[in-house]
Symmetry: C2
């Protein structure tokens, strides 16, 4: 069943939630990403042997490490006798809202899958990616692992991944301010109760964005791409958010909101040039509150995880 | 601007909410419907002169009558000098969850529009239909007037109507038990607070149904068509609901839930024959709790309002 000694894979960062699809919708990004090497070992365990790169203070134990937990779940489902050793190169800053924890799991599973004589399809990896993600967030939601595995814009339900077609011209501008927002704090802000009217307004946005994507109608996407449910509860946790969002909208964004749990901010544009200019303006907005930041500009239909080498 | 003396139009009953799209999604039905005659009068007012048919104890005053309120809103927007007299033939039982109040407004606007030398498009009628609907429900939601005006399955946002393509084979079985459930009681059952997790689960269903419709994928529709948000809060108000829903599912429904505010129950099927058999079984289920019922079986892509005659 196992046909290689080791494999290395890359999984990109991603925008979770995408404003209208809390815990359900996400899209892949380019540039940032995690690289993970998975090596076959005789000992029947899954262990992490190295964590390098942008983030190094991550748990090594396989219950709390997203990559190890994902691979252990996959190994168990396949009934493999051998074990695996994992080396993680982090290319996504932690607590950025760009799916960093998820990317380690996505890359590890993509690498592990490449070790098989007959690798499974992406759908077969998804439940294990969810299991890995739960090591970091405590819950199983696929809005980051989904697009990281599949690429592009993805509807990630509790048991399936559905690619959502997006107009090829669509570009994302994502700005990551250097401010640590703990996912725990971002989740706490969502505690409490919600009104049915909020739900209806948010659903309207989700439905418009989905319909706009399937109809390739940018005007519909623009009408729907706003978050009236989660953003109001989290915006206050991100210094400079209002200014950065305004800068995004001032550059004719189809919509702009928080990426994942924040503090990164994303916005969608009709072309690359607008997205480039907007990203600069968004970064300047964060600078006015004293925050340096990184910028990502890429197609919303960016590619997902890929195998880099099989040894 | 006005080119005729009078016009008569028909608007069909409809399934509101469709399980996954509370206040947002609805589809037209065949068989049941309201017929409304709108006649030009010199006096600059809008008044109801007759209410006939299945329901006659409706308000005549133009603030509380949905048809009159809709036509008054339309007349005002167009700045018309003349007035209008309205005769309503009710073909939809009130308090059935089949959009009866909305249908009078939809039919009245369709007739009024036909009086113009250059009738407006359906989108131009929508805000007035919402205004008419609000006379009955106290809020502006288009999940009944939307499909009644446009036909088929419709996403009805606060300011636009979007037809959603449905597989032509898709049939609805709708059973209306003879039990009066006041819309007010059905709305009261929804008071109180909601958890974010309920929202995520319900959004997943909405997204799957929409994606399934756009991809013409019945399996996706079946995966999404269930109501975890509203149905649990209303089911107890409808005697025999659980049995009728079970009967619908036992006949291989793609999904089944409450139509609008109830007590009618709807279910979707892959073909007409299954829907016919299911409707019988659902009616039998209501009979076991002592309720007689009516059955409707039609395509989900049933036609919307139409002009019957222009005089």
């Amino acid at each position: 069943m196992i046909g290689a000694r080791a494999a290395r894979a890359f999984a990109p960062a991603s925008v979770g939630n995408v404003g209208v699809g809390f815990d359900l919708l996400g899209h892949a990004l380019d540039q940032y990403g995690d690289r993970v090497l998975v090596r076959v070992i005789e000992e029947p365990v899954v262990r992490v042997s190295a964590i390098r790169g942008l983030v190094t203070d991550l748990p090594f134990d396989p219950v709390h490490n997203t990559a190890a937990r994902a691979v252990a779940s996959w190994r168990s489902a396949l009934g493999l006798a051998c074990g695996f050793e994992i080396e993680i190169d982090k290319g996504i800053p932690l607590g950025s809202g760009l799916g960093g924890s998820a990317a380690s799991a996505s890359a590890a599973l993509t690498a592990a899958n490449a070790l098989l004589v007959q690798p499974g399809d992406i759908a077969s990896l998804y439940p294990h990616a969810l299991e890995g993600e739960s090591a970091a967030s405590g819950s199983r939601h696929g809005d980051n692992v989904g697009p990281q595995l599949l690429g592009g814009l993805v509807l990630a339900t509790h048991d399936r991944l559905l690619p959502v077609p997006v107009p090829d011209c669509l570009h994302a501008a994502v700005v990551h301010p250097h401010y640590v927002l703990e996912t725990r704090r971002a989740r706490e802000a969502l505690r409490g109760h919600y009104a049915l009217s909020e739900f209806v307004a948010q659903s309207e946005g989700l439905a418009l964005v989905l319909a706009g994507c399937y109809r390739q109608d940018l005007e519909l996407i623009a009408a729907g791409l706003r978050d009236v449910l989660v953003e109001p509860r989290r915006a206050g946790l991100i210094p400079g958010f209002a200014q950065a969002k305004q800068a995004a909208l001032d550059h004719a964004a189809l919509g702009a909101s928080i990426s994942g749990a924040g503090p990164s901010v994303f916005a969608w544009y009709r072309d690359a040039a607008s997205a480039e200019q907007a990203a600069l303006a968004m970064a300047e907005a964060f600078a006015t509150v004293g925050l340096a930041s990184d910028r990502i500009v890429c197609k919303v239909a960016s590619p997902g995880a890929r195998v880099l080498e099989v040894l």
